[in-house]
């Protein structure tokens, strides 16, 4: 009974968020919903990055690699022609799982060796492979459409409202799944790895086993986001999938929201998407990216804990004031 109450209590913020998201389509115009759709995808990508980097401290610069690989594989297999035989066109329910599998397989092949080694190796390698993959995708023009990428891909659903429901559903499914992992002992160990990996190893835990699990979860999430995003947009190109700004958006969303949390990246994804959308008309081209990079830099520098950190500090302060002293359920 007590257990049941505590689990409802820990779910309460999810319930609030879900209710707000359910009401939204009835009160805002489709143009607003389109921004929400982008924000949902950014939230998925940010959660994926956070599962790997925010929790364990192994900073990945390769998430566009995972996302792009998933998107490209699904796009190439479902594309209605344009490239040479064998002329395979597969339905989406086949190509999308294959895309996700490609993200996991490709990620494990290229990134996992570097995770056996401590230190910044993982980060360097992930960035290096991101650049190489984008070169390969451009070079393999016959398959991938080269610089221009692949267009007129099949959609899953059409219309702003339907896509809103779809992306919101996926986003919450991913979020709750990751949250259940994060609040279990797995999340606990991953955070400990970020703080002192040697000590975790001395506690009789294979840190590699936990890092690998976090990576696979992250890659699955990135793959899910990648395939759904590709078939929402109906196109994929190197400029969209492998651009640094895309990578920057993912990382900044997480950092702004709060690393090592699940709600943080969701909030950050929404914040960053609405922020960039609202500056679209104010500044142009390089100026906008410049301003955006500088703002991102300022946030990382002055508030590395993100909004989650701020809210958490304030809430803890109030509770401590009310009850006088810390309680067990507050510190975990």
């Amino acid at each position: 009974m007590v257990n049941w109450i505590t689990s409802v209590k820990s779910f309460r913020w999810w319930l609030v968020a879900i209710v707000v998201m359910m009401v939204l389509p009835f009160i805002v115009p489709p143009s607003f919903l389109r921004i929400c759709i982008m924000a949902n995808f950014m939230a998925i990508f940010a959660m994926s990055w956070d599962m790997m980097s925010g929790y364990t401290g192994y900073v990945s610069f390769g998430h566009p690699f995972l996302i792009g690989l998933a998107g490209y594989v699904s796009a190439m297999l479902s594309h209605q022609g344009g490239f040479q035989p064998p002329h395979i066109v597969l339905p989406l329910y086949v190509t999308m799982p294959l895309g996700i599998a490609a993200a996991v397989g490709g990620g494990m092949l290229f990134f996992l060796p570097s995770m056996r080694v401590r230190g910044p190796y993982f980060s360097l390698i992930s960035l290096a492979f991101l650049m190489i993959l984008s070169r390969i995708m451009i070079a393999a023009g016959a398959m991938t459409g080269g610089d221009r990428g692949l267009t007129s891909l099949p959609y899953l659903v059409t219309g702003a409202v339907n896509n809103y429901w779809l992306s919101t559903g996926i986003m919450f499914a991913v979020a709750i799944g990751l949250w259940l992992v994060a609040r279990s002992d797995v999340g606990h160990v991953l955070k400990a790895i970020r703080m002192d990996e040697d000590v975790v190893e001395s506690s009789g835990l294979s840190t590699y086993r936990f890092k690998r699990f976090a990576f696979i979860l992250s890659a699955i999430t990135a793959g899910i986001g990648g395939v759904f995003y590709t078939h929402y947009m109906g196109s994929i190109s190197p400029a969209g999938a492998f651009d640094y700004i895309f990578l920057l958006n993912i990382i900044v969303s997480t950092v702004v929201g709060g690393m090592g949390t699940i709600l943080g990246p969701i909030f950050g994804g929404y914040f960053i998407t609405f922020f960039t959308e609202s500056t679209r008309t104010l500044l142009e081209g390089a100026w906008r990216f410049m301003a955006y990079s500088l703002v991102a830099l300022a946030i990382v520098y002055f508030r590395p804990g993100g909004f989650y950190g701020i809210v958490h500090d304030i809430a803890a302060w109030f509770r401590a004031k009310r009850r006088g002293g810390l309680q067990y359920d507050q510190v975990t």
Partner: protein, 242 residues
């Protein structure tokens, strides 16, 4: 008495420096062994080699008759070896109880995902057992050095080991704290735990150890009871240069 840990011909070089040089010693079931030597003698390196933090250049370490050579650190811990760090290494963002709990988490993803924080009572008992009863909710920066050493000890106990290696556990503590810790070790010894205690300070260990080995420049120079080594010429020379 059965042989628990056996170190044979252990050698480790860092660049041109030989940190541990053809070292031989063993620990039997039911005893507390002092591993002594002046600063820089290679004691901590020997610990790190036993834990698998480095690979030795030569030599063999066996535990309960099993060769540790191919095993990773976490596998050695699962066999029943634990260690504390000379400079305590708590997780800076976790309160003591959560810190300790990491040591009891099963090394399996599926078992971690099933059930949440089952082992909290067990961890509490271990924390209380080392005298941290009223400090389980505190963060590392709120604790004294003596308490941090207790946390280190509790963390190693929480891995359910047979052998614990304590690295300079008495250094920098007050006499009172040392006495309390000594009592604690004796209690744990009765419960069947085996210890290797490292110290550069001979006297601090007098009351604790059953037997001692003294090393200098990574080499064994004396072995015996405390009385024997305290009067050993080589040991005196190593410590006082006489």
């Amino acid at each position: 008495m059965t042989r628990l840990l056996e170190v044979k011909g252990l050698t480790k070089r860092f660049g041109g420096v030989v940190a541990v040089n053809d070292l031989n010693f063993h620990v039997d079931d039911g005893e507390i062994l002092g591993l002594m030597g002046p600063n820089g003698a290679g004691k901590t390196t020997a610990f790190n080699l036993i834990m698998g933090d480095y690979k030795p250049d030569a030599g063999q370490i066996s535990f309960k008759g099993q060769d540790l050579g191919p095993l990773q650190t976490y596998e050695r811990v699962k066999l029943g070896i634990a260690r504390t760090y000379q400079i305590p290494r708590p997780y800076h963002d976790l309160p003591v109880i959560e810190d300790l709990r990491i040591s009891t988490v099963p090394d399996s993803i599926t078992r971690c995902l099933r059930g949440k924080k089952r082992n909290i009572e067990e961890v509490e008992q271990i924390g209380i057992g080392v005298g941290l009863k009223d400090r389980l909710m505190k963060y590392p920066h709120e604790l004294s050095l003596g308490d941090l050493r207790r946390v280190e000890l509790a963390k190693s106990i929480a891995t359910d080991p047979k052998l614990i290696m304590l690295d300079e556990i008495f250094a920098g503590l007050t006499v009172h704290e040392i006495n309390e810790l000594t009592e604690l070790l004796m209690e744990k010894k009765k419960a069947g735990l085996v210890f290797i205690v490292v110290s550069h300070d001979l006297k601090a260990l007098a009351a604790v150890i059953d037997r001692a080995v003294v090393i200098q420049f990574g080499h064994l120079i004396a072995e015996g009871t405390y009385e024997e080594i305290a009067h050993d010429k080589k040991v005196k020379k190593a410590y006082f240069g006489m």
